[in-house]
């Protein structure tokens, strides 16, 4: 604990909590029929490889497994093979695989695990020196189901698997692309009724998959009820309408931030995340609004402001009255 006090300026109290007492968010992954905790700090995304695609999606350069993540090769480290050296040698097993894309202090790689469980806030428990010396675990934790899980050290795994620093490569690239990157906006590429559309990634809060029956209606407007919080759902593509009569049909709703409120966009599929490029109308020097160049295709950007807010309490009475009158 540190105490810093300046007369007339205030006091700063610093309380340092040792890692052995720290609570960290971690993703619980499964491998060797055992649970391991992966600190969320190093995790950038998760990729699911279904069994039928395992053979094609995972490519091999001699002994090195690689995955094409948005056009760039990502070195893969199989957790199972790392933990049981010499036992599993053959090519890819024919089952579900999950790639946890990690960035461990500049070492970018994908850790292949057999399954994913929920993210948990875990309490780090120290390990005996004997087990710390293995070099792959930073500690252990007791999970919610009373099972023990070893906490994996992403950096140590990278070093052990021979993943080198990719930072230099990246920085050289970003020097060139920095100016461009600053202008490039990341978009979530979605498909709505056969058409591609883009939602600014910065506005996306989460993606929900709900059964059709969860969607309720205020008049003609579809809404989702999240524990008392209403989310207006935009259905220009007619995704909800298309699932009419099928109560169990899953509806994917992209929940976005629009100013201080949240809106949902019903989509058929979520395709990818990509950087958009500006488009100019011939003869003009200002970028055209509402469209962007995504993966070399002209894509419309969903106008979140266009989603009409739900009526306020004061206005509601009038509107409902009108609605009631028309119905009546």
């Amino acid at each position: 604990m540190e105490l810093e006090s300046h007369a007339g300026r205030g006091t700063t109290l610093r309380l340092r909590i040792p890692l052995t007492l720290a609570i960290i968010p971690a993703l619980i992954v499964k491998s060797l029929k055992q649970s391991f905790a992966l600190p969320q700090g190093a995790l950038s995304e998760l990729v699911h490889v279904p069994p039928r695609k395992a053979a094609t999606d995972i490519e091999w350069m001699e002994d090195a497994a690689l995955y094409r993540l948005r056009g760039k090769l990502l070195p893969l480290v199989f957790l199972e093979r790392l933990l049981r050296p010499g036992e599993c040698t053959g090519k890819v097993p024919d089952r579900d695989m999950f790639i946890a894309v990690l960035d461990a202090d500049g070492r970018r790689y994908g850790l292949v695990v057999d399954g994913l469980a929920d993210p948990e806030e875990i309490v780090v428990k120290p390990l005996s020196a004997v087990l710390k010396d293995i070099g792959l675990y930073t500690g252990a934790t007791v999970l919610g189901n009373a099972e023990l899980a070893l906490i994996l050290d992403p950096t140590a795994i990278a070093i052990k698997a021979g993943v080198t620093l990719s930072a230099e490569e990246d920085s050289a690239e970003s020097d060139e692309g920095e100016v461009e990157a600053a202008k490039r906006v990341e978009y979530l590429l979605v498909e709505v009724a056969g058409q591609q559309a883009a939602v600014p990634l910065a506005d996306v809060l989460r993606i929900e998959q709900v059964p059709r029956s969860r969607i309720e209606w205020i008049g003609y407007r579809p809404v989702l009820n999240f524990e008392g919080q209403l989310l207006p759902v935009e259905d220009t593509g007619g995704v909800i309408a298309a699932a009419e009569g099928n109560a169990g049909a899953p509806i994917i709703v992209v929940v976005c931030r629009e100013g201080s409120r949240q809106v949902g966009i019903a989509v058929s599929h979520v395709l990818d995340v990509a950087g958009g490029g500006d488009l100019f109308e011939a003869g003009k020097s200002h970028p055209a609004g509402g469209v962007t160049l995504l993966k070399n295709r002209v894509t419309g950007v969903v106008d979140l402001r266009g989603v009409a807010p739900l009526p306020d309490a004061e206005n509601a009475t009038n509107e409902w009255k009108e609605f009631a009158e028309t119905v009546g």
Binding site: S128, V130, A140, V142
Partner: protein, 158 residues
């Protein structure tokens, strides 16, 4: 002659009585001084630790702490057993650890008069693990010293 007998009797009187927890591993009977045992956990299922040294039996959750366990079976080079194992939570000067044994027997009171140090013919590796033996009526009980079985020390010994 008579003096010799008296001294021997005297020695018997001063002989210390020690309480030993007897455990079985394979065909062997082993003893651990009961004052070093914090708890006995029946049918323990330690979580295996991949890449750990061979003698490590896994991790156990014990009162909010994570204990490293030492498998006596593996330490003695015996084949793994199918059945469940019992766990002793042992206290040593370097901290607590778990000791996995096949089964825990009764607590025996033994006299230090029946104690003998490791015979010279016991191989060196075993000699470093064992701390002598007590001659019981129906066999030998090999003494285990909690300090010598401490995981960090075992790792250092190789």
């Amino acid at each position: 002659m008579s003096t010799a007998r008296t001294t021997r009797r005297k020695k018997n009187v001063t002989a210390e009585l020690v309480e030993m927890c007897s455990v079985r591993v394979g065909d062997g009977l082993f003893g651990i001084p009961i004052k070093h045992i914090l708890e006995i956990v029946g049918s323990a299922r330690p979580q295996p630790v991949p890449l750990a040294p061979a003698f490590v039996g896994g991790l156990m959750h014990y009162r909010g702490d994570v204990l490293t366990t030492v498998s006596l079976r593996r330490l003695l080079g015996l084949a793994p057993t199918e059945g469940t194992q019992d766990l002793l939570v042992v206290e040593s000067s370097a901290g607590c650890y778990g000791l996995l044994v096949d089964s825990v027997g009764e607590v025996l009171t033994v006299s230090s008069a029946d104690y003998e140090a490791n015979p010279s013919t016991v191989n060196e590796r075993r000699r470093s693990l064992f701390a002598g033996a007590y001659k019981l009526k129906d066999g030998l009980m090999v003494m285990l010293d909690p300090e010598r079985l401490e995981p960090v020390r075992l790792a250092r010994a190789g």
